[in-house]
Assembly symmetry: C2
Homo-oligomer: 204 residues x 2
DNA sequence: CCTAATTTGCTTACATCGTAAGCTTACGTT
DNA sequence: AACGTAAGCTTACGATGTAAGCAAATTAGG
């Protein structure tokens, strides 16, 4: 029924002092993913990285899935801080897309994680809040603004997936050539522009 | 150096007759995924489903990853067959998007797989070929047409991910209500329309 | 027909994973 | 000093992917 999630001890006084915090774990987890990918993130490896036995992690997070979910929200929050609110609605849309994309490309091996583990609703809202606010002050209907940001978000994530996923038969290093980067940058810019203008000046 | 992939026995004559084909395996794998999800697709389960020991599968596919890759291409091919080529370039773009989306929603539990395992280049090209051809006959530049289809594809996949992924704190059955379906359908239609008109009438 | 070659499927075995259960350690409180 | 409690550790178990070698079922050659 209730969806608490955390144990929530409420009062903290006696007992052995923690050598490990939830945030430490999440940061270490992200570091492992960045370094060696999702499949390298085992509970034993994560514990070792923190100088702690694997089972100790379970005092702070219920299971591996919870670690992954926490990493997702950590990354989403990271994207929010890089978000600058200035400009028109259209400009805030592309600013959002750019910040979101930058976060994704800073953590290429985490992109599949973001794709398969939706961030929690609160964090998601915080991420798009700036754009919704700009839309509001320009008189854009709420529903339309929401559709627009979400469509852009979905495009950004899908695009990052395409850029980051090595197609079979391609060398893993081929994804990193300047030509490849330029190709994806142009594709991204054109796709984003199309979507934004499509939302700003609807057809009909 | 060479990236063959398959063992390719070339000549087939003597030896014990196969009780199992590669396609059987791929179909069974898809059935398991549809029924119980990706994490239920273990080699033992897949073998059991086919009345065969787990290790027998390795005579036909090198490892589990190869099974997943084969499922991806199988699904892509499925989407191609549902594709109807009529209409203008813009219409063929939305027809492509719709066929692709229909395939994804027919296999909701396979969507994360499609997201994380890019289809092979040949299949991918076959999937977008119709759209590229229509663009060609209308004089749309190749590069622009390619960017457009790929952007649409990326939007469709991202959108399906959002629709199919249950956000934390949501009951799994809530994704299936008629209201939810209607919400996602409308979102999809509006996002797609924005992108298509954005590509057909660029903002300069 | 019989034997050899060959291809497929099976059995066994192992390293690695997530995590359940119970124990130990290091604190604040009494 | 004794106790309660929270954090970390040890041990253990079932499940997974797959490597290695064995058994069975067919065709080819004599």
């Amino acid at each position: 029924m209730a969806t608490t999630g955390e144990p929530r001890p409420a009062r903290r006084s006696s007992g052995r002092p923690p050598q490990l915090s939830r945030d430490d774990i999440v940061s270490a987890a992200l570091a492992v993913i960045d370094a060696d990918g999702l499949e390298a993130l085992t509970m034993r490896r994560l514990g070792a990285e923190l100088g702690v036995a694997a089972m100790s992690l379970y005092r702070h997070l219920p299971n591996r899935e919870a670690v992954l979910a926490a990493v997702v929200n950590h990354l989403a929050t990271e994207a929010i801080t890089d978000l600058d609110p200035g400009g028109s609605w259209a400009e805030s849309l592309t600013a959002f897309a750019t910040a979101y994309r930058q976060m994704l490309l800073s953590h290429p091996r985490a992109v599949p994680l973001l794709a398969t583990h939706p961030m929690d609703v609160h964090t998601g809202l915080a991420l798009i809040q700036v754009v919704l606010d700009r839309a509001d002050t320009e008189g854009v209907p709420r529903a339309r603004a929401l559709t627009a940001v979400q469509s852009v978000a979905v495009f950004v994530l899908g695009h990052a997936l395409a850029q980051v996923g090595t197609p079979p038969g391609t060398s893993a290093t081929a994804v990193e050539t300047p030509e490849a980067t330029e190709y994806y940058d142009r594709w991204f810019a054109e796709g984003l522009a199309a979507m934004v203008t499509g939302f700003v000046r609807p057809a009909v």
